[in-house]
Amino acid sequence: MSTQSMNPAAPRTDTASPSFSCPVPLQEYPNVLLAHGGGGRLMHHLIETVFLEAFGNPQLENRHDGAVLELGGARIAFTTDSYVVRPLFFPGGDIGSLAVNGTVNDLAMCGAKPLYLSAGFILEEGLPMETLRRVVGSMRDAAQAAGVQFATGDTKVVDRGKADGLFVNTAGIGVVPSGVVIRPSEVRPGDAILLSGDIGRHGIAIMAVREGLEFETPIESDCAPVAGAVQALLAAGVEVHCLRDATRGGLATTLVEIATASGCGIQISEAAIPVHESVTGACEILGFDPLYVANEGRFTAFVAAADAERALEILRRQPGGGEASLIGRTTVQDAGLVVLQTRIGASRLVDMLSGEQLPRIC
């Protein structure tokens, strides 16, 4: 828009203007919006029209959390992720534990045993050294817990005001055992869909600190490594077809991605999805749907129906996995769609959000 049209002395009436068109299609934004990073349709559009357009290759076409590369006879999983969370410290975790667990979990979603990480730090001038030490200490502890080592790293410092304290990038590699093929295209109709625990705590914990919301019991992030749980499923011989961690965009977005990529229908039961009372309450207040709230230690596993019970028992024995549950199944019907059976027994579609969830008016 030109600056002229902002001149209050010259209000424009566009009723007769031939250039008038309906509201601009939102994905054609001339600038990057925060919502382009929200995990919803805008972000997918950005990936397709900018990144895949430029970099497209068979590996990227898999559209998985990480790539699985055949290198010298070994199958290596490779992934990267950047962490820009504000506040740096939140109940249940911090940017350091997040940067390790997030990348370790992406490797685990390929069925890999995570081995090595890189760490790239972008530090803001003036960041207290004590803060940096705390974050690095937390990265060390998380790496130890996940059984990975830092193999390489990088440090940059930018001017004050150019970063939110610090940004961290981690990349990771791991080894995928032979015979393990885990990706959306392996999903078959009739697969059981398991969820590794309750949802929504990470997103709400961050939101609560950011917006100064207080609850009787503080909500702690679910930030945790899930590689152990995945290794346990594979070690027990569970026929795992696909794994996906329910991070940005939440469980709903994850399921829509897999339904779209696999061409199967997905049917889930609202009552079977564990959500803690405090998260339900916060979502009611903010006008959020817990299905779209981010998690950092939760994943869905698509497994052969015959293995469902056994897999569920294994997941429930994992630390923090007591509430793991069978939430649905894949179907031939409703191909490519996610259908939710509501608490009152009706059914509806679950869709990807356009951008981020925004708090509503009333």
């Binding site: 209000p11 009723t15 008038f20 309906c22 934004y29 600038n31 919502a35 649905g328 409703d334 708090p359």
Partner: protein, 373 residues
């Protein structure tokens, strides 16, 4: 969770649906006024539990949907000014004006902030006296008391840098406008529970009497809505037309007197244009003369704007309950939440957006699917 999950109980819902089936002898068309109810109905699939012939049409009670394009454009013009902090509830940010939305203004460097209460905006004004802080005061009677209180607070403290861009609308005049329309097929109303929490329901009694139409003040949870439908159908079957209150845990006949006093002190009733519907006399709130200093339109000297909706957009008919979203030829084709033609596809509470999100083409919510687990 207490006071939430109890009202989403599947077995109780089935009981209500059976009771409703027992008393229904013929088709009835009811309108739920509020966008929050529309969202709940489509999200939980409440309409699929109703007996055949009992139809819910969706009303104009989505504040984001009915805010006229001109006001959105004014918000965008103000937010783009240097030195301005533009505060709004979250869901106004995505609504496109003539060429862009508030999110784009933010991406271009405008200081646009999401707040949870207008009082947060007053606090920002207090903290940053050198900046102009504007709050986008959108909504029905529900949000009016807090917005009025923000003005009172700013007035008391003598804050020179706080103002409201006002787009307040009122429910009863819109209901009367709908009932007077020759297109109207509404036989009963579920009135908006939150609006009545503030205003009570005395002002609906003359409407029920004049138009011979039952009005049931209804809550937002699935069981609230099912009970509201039951009470409304029961009145219709018994040829009664009065105001009844389903939402007794929140609503009293006289409403919340201090909140109403607050509204009356700051606002007066004015004509307002409703997006998709047009101007309705005495259907909105504007700042009273003594508070005109807090009027952002005056402060920023924004003159009259007139912008026309795209002709192919039928959101006016949707907002009046004449057209179901998926019966519009543009629905899901040229009009989607990513590229909305009109208001009802934009807001998360708009009827078209709710239908798009929860029951797009190719999906039949009535189809039996068996248990998911």
């Amino acid at each position: 969770m207490r006071f939430v999950n109890e009202y989403r109980d599947g077995r109780a819902a089935a009981r209500y649906a059976r009771a409703l089936r027992r008393i229904t002898t013929r088709p009835w068309t009811l309108m739920e006024v509020c966008g929050g109810q529309t969202h709940s109905i489509v999200k939980f699939g409440i309409d699929t539990l109703l007996p055949e012939g009992v139809t819910l049409v969706h009303g104009p009670g989505c504040p984001v949907c009915v805010t006229p394009l001109e006001l959105i454009e004014k918000a965008i013009l103000i937010a783009a000014r240097p030195g301005v902090i533009f505060c709004s509830f979250g869901d106004m940010l995505r609504v496109p004006g003539r060429t862009k939305d508030l999110l784009s203004v933010k991406a271009e460097g405008g200081d646009v902030r999401i707040v949870y209460s207008p009082l947060d905006a007053v606090a920002i004004a207090r903290r940053e006296p050198e900046r102009q802080v504007v709050f986008f005061a959108v909504g029905f009677e529900t949000t009016a008391p807090a917005n009025a209180m923000a003005v009172q607070q700013a007035h008391r403290e003598g804050l020179q840098n706080f103002s409201l861009l006002v787009s307040h609308v009122l429910v009863p005049p819109a209901m009367e406008a709908l009932l007077s329309s020759p297109n109207s097929r509404v036989q009963g109303f579920l009135a908006a529970g939150h609006v009545c929490t503030v205003m009570g329901y005395e002002e609906y009694e003359p409407i029920a009497a004049r138009y011979r139409v039952p009005i049931v003040v209804t809550g937002f949870e699935p069981l609230d809505i099912l009970q509201g439908v039951y009470m409304c159908v029961k009145q219709l079957e018994e040829r009664r037309a009065v105001v009844e209150n389903q939402y007794t845990r929140a609503v009293r006949r006289n409403g919340n007197a201090p909140a109403q006093a607050c509204i009356r002190d700051v606002f007066e009733v004015v004509p307002r244009k409703w997006r998709g519907v047009g101007e309705i006399p005495q259907s909105g709130l504007g700042l009273r003369a003594r508070y005109l200093d807090f009027d952002a339109e005056r402060r920023f000297e924004l003159g009259a704007l007139e912008i026309q909706e795209p002709r192919e957009c039928k959101s006016g008919l949707v907002l009046q309950g004449v057209l179901k979203p998926h019966d519009c030829p543009e629905f899901g084709a040229r009009c989607t939440p990513d590229a909305p033609l009109g208001a009802t596809m934009v807001s998360s509470e708009g009827a078209c957006a709710a239908y798009y999100r929860y029951r797009r083409a190719g999906f039949d919510p009535g189809l039996l699917r068996g248990a998911a687990v």
